[in-house]
Structure formats: structure tokens, C-alpha cells
């Protein structure tokens, strides 16, 4: 039986080979990446206990990313649904419009500490790439972003940002031309360039150290939220549910991190169910996909009987990933979190309902999946239940897609 230990940060609950629960994660990488990963692992262990580094991180989190992001009650949505009280952590207000900024800043700071001048990263929705180029510009690093050609097309606003920050955007034309291929290509690049370059993996995926750094960075979300919850309610509510979309899983990990040990807080992850009627779900957890090795880590992954990654399809580029963080596999296996999915259509409807009721929350398509779940369950719950949705991305990047789907003329 896999177990979660209390009082130990989730990111540290792996074994000496980097496996959570002895199974998920690890460093299944080419030998050429062994040295930089060891180096990074050592450096990160030092830095995470280095007060100067923590101060620097917090300075940028506060002054550049704009922490803390608001924690607000969605009165109208609550009234509209009748049932649980719905709150929202407005992470989309982080500079750049999503939680990806935390990981990008931390990786850029690490890159400088490593004495490297070049940083590269993958991106799906474009937020990870946007934030990394943003941070790279600030920290005087050269920057290269790998992005599936399909995503370059559908998330062009974020591509614009990357280019304007001076990053080189490399469209990846192999495979499904989405995030999975971008990550592969980025890892290939790093394999060649790791002596002078640092790699930032855009979510809690990849070799163990990348999972750890990313979750450690986004943990800022729940750290500040815990305070906000206490300020708002005076105590931790008896019955609280935290709903988050899960692509790679970095946003959910950040949103949940401080709550793992609080058993009265339910953690609900929402994966991308894809178009109604399609089988190309990007939902390895809720669809019980088999175990596999992808991008250096063991995880549940959508694959055929040949171990080939299957194409996924989601309206939300950020969730369109066939694998999922080893941490989420671990949370699923230990039953600490439950995972479900929402379809494209449900996400779109949720987007509309939330936008029309609650102007200030303008969720991108990724968190719209989380809202879809909240909308499904809230009416059946009691007024004493607190639902908190992480609105981890801003809709601006999706304006083209949503407008087309909803027939707005823009």
C-alpha cells in the first residue's frame, strides 16, 4: 500500500531514485542528462534552504508577479447555483496571467546561480513560455521556447509576448504538434546544450528534480491562500473542497500543497475530457490510463498497446498533455485526491456562466474545466461547504478560440 506521510512535504516523499510511492517519477533520461540533473538537484537542495535565495524569490514573487493574488467569494455564482459557497483564488492575476510565472522565476534564478546564460523551456498554452521569456528578459538570460506548431497557431497572443520579450520561439512540427512534442524537443535541445544552458520544464512533469522545483515554486499559491482562508473564515472550514484543473499538474500541486495534511479538505483535480463524444481525452488519471515512461518519468500516460503516446484533443492547449505529474499519480493512488474530467463543451459553458456572473474572474479554458466541476457539484452541496476554484489562467489568450466557438464577432 502506498501511503502519504504527514508532516513531510509531498515533494520530498520520493525514494532515493526519485520515485514517489516507489513507482512514480524517477529520472529515466539519457546518460547525457545525468550530470546536469545531478548538479541541479544538488543546487536546488542548497538553494531551497538558502535564506538569501528565499528572500530573492519572495521579492520577485511579490514585486514582479504580484503576490498575493486575490482570494474572493463568487457571490453571484453561489446564488445562481444555490448550494455550496463558491470562492475563487484569482491566480490569473499573477503577472503574465497564470501560475506559470512562479516556476519561471524560480528557474531563472536557479539558472543564474548555476552561472548559465541560456534558458530553454517547453510550453503548451504558451503561458509557461511567456512567463519564462518574461523572467529571462528581466534576468538577462537568452531564452528559447519550444512549442508545438498547433499551439503556436492557436495561442498566438502568447507567442507574440514571447517574441516581444526577445525569446526565440521554436515551433515543433513532429507528432501531434502539441505540448508533448514540445517537451520532447526541449529535452533533446537540453541534451545537447546542458553545459551552458538550463532547462525549465513548464509543469510538474519530467525528471524528479523538475517536478520538485515546479511544485515548490507554485506552492506559493496555497501558502498565501492558507492565510487568506484564515483571514476570511477565522479558521479552516470544516468542509472545504479545492478544485483545480490538471494538465501536467503544476497549478493543482501549487494550490493543494499546504492542504495535503488537512484531511477535511477535499482535493479535486479536473482533467480535459476533450470534445464530447471524442475518445481523445487528455485525462490519464480519470480514465485509468496505464503506467508508462514519458519525458523521463514514470506516470500514468495515454498510450496504445505498443507504448506509443496517443494523440489527445482538448480545446485547452494547456491541458492537452497525455501524461500527468507523478505527484498526481501518487495522490490518486493514495486516494488523497480524486480526479475527474470535463468536456470542451462543459468548459465553454462554465466560462460563459462565470464570466457573465462574475466579471472579475475571466478564466482561460484550463480553469474553466475546474469551474465546470464546481458548477456540477455545488448545487448538490450544503451551504456549509466551501468550494474554492483555482482560476489559474486569464482568458485573453483564448479570445480567438472562444469567440469562434461561441459565435461572437470580434
Amino acid at each position: 500500500m502506498m501511503d502519504i506521510k504527514k508532516g513531510v512535504p509531498l515533494i520530498d516523499q520520493h525514494d532515493e531514485n526519485g520515485y514517489w510511492g516507489g513507482v512514480f517519477g524517477g529520472n529515466q533520461i539519457a546518460e547525457s542528462l545525468n550530470y546536469p540533473i545531478e548538479q541541479l538537484t544538488k543546487e536546488f537542495e542548497i538553494l531551497r534552504h538558502d535564506e538569501t535565495f528565499i528572500k530573492e524569490r519572495d521579492y520577485y514573487f511579490k514585486n514582479f508577479i504580484g503576490a498575493p493574488t486575490p482570494f474572493i467569494k463568487l457571490e453571484n455564482l453561489t446564488n445562481h447555483l444555490g448550494g455550496a459557497q463558491i470562492y475563487c483564488k484569482l491566480v490569473s492575476k499573477a503577472t503574465g496571467g497564470a501560475h506559470k510565472a512562479y516556476n519561471a522565476v524560480v528557474h531563472s534564478l536557479i539558472c543564474k546561480r548555476l552561472g548559465k546564460t541560456y534558458i530553454g523551456g517547453d510550453t503548451g498554452a504558451g503561458y509557461a513560455g511567456k512567463m519564462l521569456s518574461m523572467a529571462a528578459a528581466k534576468f538577462n538570460l537568452k531564452c528559447k521556447i519550444f512549442m508545438g506548431a498547433k499551439d503556436v497557431e492557436r495561442q498566438s497572443i502568447n507567442v507574440f509576448s514571447m517574441r516581444s520579450y526577445g525569446a526565440e520561439v521554436v515551433p515543433v512540427h513532429s507528432g501531434s504538434q502539441t505540448l508533448v512534442d514540445a517537451v520532447s524537443e526541449c529535452m533533446r535541445w537540453w541534451t545537447s546544450e546542458n553545459e551552458s544552458s538550463h532547462m525549465c520544464v513548464g509543469s510538474t512533469v519530467g525528471p524528479t528534480i523538475f517536478v520538485k522545483i515546479c511544485a515548490w515554486s507554485t506552492a506559493q499559491i496555497s501558502r498565501e491562500m492558507k492565510q487568506q482562508v484564515l483571514e476570511t473564515f477565522g479558521e479552516i472550514p470544516k468542509d472545504m473542497k479545492l478544485i483545480n484543473c490538471v494538465g501536467g499538474g503544476s497549478s493543482a500541486m501549487g494550490f493543494w500543497n499546504e492542504w495535503i495534511d488537512h484531511d477535511n479538505v477535499e482535493l479535486i483535480g479536473v482533467e480535459a475530457g476533450g470534445p464530447e463524444g471524442s475518445n481523445k481525452h487528455a485525462a490519464p488519471l480519470s480514465n485509468d490510463s496505464p503506467l508508462g515512461v514519458l519525458h523521463g518519468a514514470t506516470q500514468y500516460v495515454i498510450q496504445d498497446d505498443q507504448g506509443e503516446i496517443e494523440e489527445t484533443d482538448s480545446i485547452s492547449a494547456g491541458l492537452d498533455y497525455p501524461g500527468v505529474s507523478p505527484l498526481h499519480c501518487f495522490l490518486k493512488e493514495t486516494k488523497r485526491a480524486r480526479y475527474t474530467s470535463a468536456t470542451d463543451e462543459e468548459a465553454l459553458e462554465a466560462f460563459q456562466l462565470v464570466s457573465k456572473n462574475e466579471g472579475f474572474v475571466s478564466p482561460s479554458l484550463e480553469p474553466s474545466h475546474a469551474f465546470a466541476e464546481a458548477i456540477k457539484i455545488a448545487p448538490k452541496l450544503s451551504k456549509d461547504t466551501i468550494i474554492v476554484v483555482d482560476s489559474c489562467g486569464d482568458s485573453a489568450k483564448d479570445s480567438k478560440i472562444i469567440a469562434e466557438r461561441l459565435g461572437y464577432k470580434i
Binding site: N17, G26, N27, Q28, I29, A30, E31, S32, N34, Y35, P36, S174, G175, V180, D181, S184, M187, R188, T191, S192, E193, N194, E195, P290, L291, G292, V293, L294, H295, G296, V301, Q303, D305, Q306, G307, E308, I309
Partner: protein, 267 residues
């Protein structure tokens, strides 16, 4: 085709004062029949040992040329069993040892034991798994050994001395030295002296182990490696398979010519 046999082959070549020529192409590229023909042509043109890629779409170690071969095979429906069948058919007529080069997920999804069993049935001599580094691979490597398969450990320029020693001490008869930090198919970006220096270091630690050198070796650079144990040419062959197909020609012919040429340059 026991692991003994692979070592014997190397030893025989060493005794002849030759450097073994290895080739890498993707099994099933562009389809089963032509792939088999290519292997035969390679064997007939004098390659000593044949690496057969069992490609994976989401690989993280292959450059463009090998990716193209992989995607071609996969999109033509080649499955793991097809690759084993190609190898089996090849081995019916040829003596050359076959090494499978693949990614971990291909083995996992096939089932580790099953995979080893099938290697035995198809007379495979060794396995290289790009994304299964030491020491994570030890369990599987031991299983291979128990089934008389050589699991070939990988080494690279940034493998530390300590790690190098440990890996070599765990390694089977044959290891693989990745000549430079890169994916397959990139230009050789380090001087061959440097590569040979590292090769010599490996040999000085484990004189009894055979060391294959790979990554970035082409017709232009292969002669630099005369005197080493063995070297592999892969991307150059895959690139030529692609261009032959694009030109409407049989890739087997062209590949045979190149292997001939490589063989000459290496001797």
C-alpha cells in the same frame, strides 16, 4: 545467439586488429519488407554488428533524421512484434549480431520479461535503452544477463569518474560511449582526439570490456576512429533512407553502397 557470442564477435574483430563497424537503422523503416532488405544489404556490405532501432514517437534522444525514420515506421503501422519478426527473418540467413536500441516505454508496455523472451526467440544479442540510465536499469540488466542478453550501459562525456567506474563495474561485456552531448544525428562537435581520450580512459578501467563509440559519426569522420573497438553510424544512414525514398529509389541499394564505403574508410 548468446551474449557470449556478441563478445566473441568483438574479440574476433579485435584479434583481426579491426575496428568493428556498427550500423543503426530503424526496424520497420519504411516497412517490414524493405527494412529487412536494408538489414540484409547492410550485412552483405560488411557491417560487423547491426543495431536495430525499435523507435518511440515521444523519444527524447533522437535528432531529426532518426525521428523521421521512426515516424515513418510507426505511421506505416510497424509494431514491436513486427520488428522482432524482421530480426528473426534476418537471423535465419545472417550471422551478424543484432542489438536492439529502444526506449523504456516500449519495453514496459511489451512487458519486461516478455520482451527478453522475445529477444531470445529472435536471436537478439544485446539491448540498448536510451532512457534507462544506470543504476535504475540494474534490475532489468540483471534479467537480461540471466537470459544471456547483453544489456549495454551508456557512458558520456559528462559521466563523472566515480560514476564511470561504478557503471563499468556493473556493465556487461559491452558498453556504449556517447561521443558528445547531443541527440543523435548532430554534427560531431568535439574533436575525435577528445573522444578517443575518453575511450582510452574507459579501456584503462575495464580493459576487458568492449566499447562502442557512437553519435555524430559519418563517412567524413569515421576514419578517425580506427583503432578503437567499434563505432556506429546511424543518422547518416537514416538520412539516406529518407532521401532514397523521396527520390523513388530502393533505399537498400544506397545503404549498401554507404556501408561499403564506411567499411573501407574504417580499414
Amino acid at each position: 545467439m548468446s551474449s557470449k557470442n556478441l563478445l566473441n564477435t568483438f574479440q574476433k574483430i579485435g584479434d583481426e586488429n579491426r575496428t568493428a563497424l556498427l550500423t543503426y537503422t530503424v526496424g520497420g523503416d519504411p516497412n517490414a519488407d524493405i527494412s529487412l532488405e536494408i538489414f540484409k544489404s547492410i550485412a552483405n556490405s560488411g557491417a560487423d554488428i547491426i543495431e536495430c532501432g525499435l523507435g518511440h514517437g515521444a523519444n527524447i534522444g533522437d535528432g531529426g533524421a532518426i525521428q523521421d525514420s521512426t515516424y515513418r515506421a510507426l505511421s506505416n503501422g510497424i509494431k514491436t512484434d513486427d520488428v522482432f519478426k524482421i530480426i528473426k527473418d534476418f537471423k535465419k540467413e545472417f550471422e551478424q549480431n543484432i542489438i536492439i536500441m529502444t526506449y523504456q516505454n516500449k519495453i514496459m508496455s511489451y512487458g519486461k520479461d516478455n520482451f527478453i523472451k522475445k529477444c531470445n526467440e529472435s536471436s537478439v544479442s544485446g539491448i540498448i535503452c536510451v532512457d534507462w540510465p544506470w543504476p535504475l536499469n540494474l534490475d532489468f540488466a540483471n534479467k537480461c544477463k540471466a537470459s544471456d542478453l547483453t544489456f549495454i550501459q551508456l557512458l558520456c562525456p559528462t559521466t563523472s569518474d566515480d560514476r564511470l567506474k561504478s557503471i563499468l563495474s556493473d556493465a556487461h561485456d559491452v558498453v556504449y560511449y556517447i561521443s558528445m552531448l547531443s541527440t543523435t544525428g548532430q554534427k560531431l562537435k568535439v574533436g575525435s582526439e577528445e573522444i578517443i581520450k575518453k575511450f582510452n580512459q574507459i579501456k584503462s578501467i575495464s580493459p576487458e570490456k568492449k566499447c562502442i563509440i557512437g553519435f555524430g559519426i559519418t563517412q567524413d569522420t569515421i576514419s578517425d576512429f580506427k583503432g578503437t573497438d567499434a563505432c556506429v553510424v546511424g543518422s547518416e544512414l537514416c538520412r539516406n533512407i529518407t532521401s532514397s525514398i523521396n527520390d523513388g529509389q530502393n533505399p537498400a541499394t544506397k545503404i549498401g553502397q554507404i556501408v561499403n564505403d564506411l567499411k573501407e574508410r574504417l580499414s
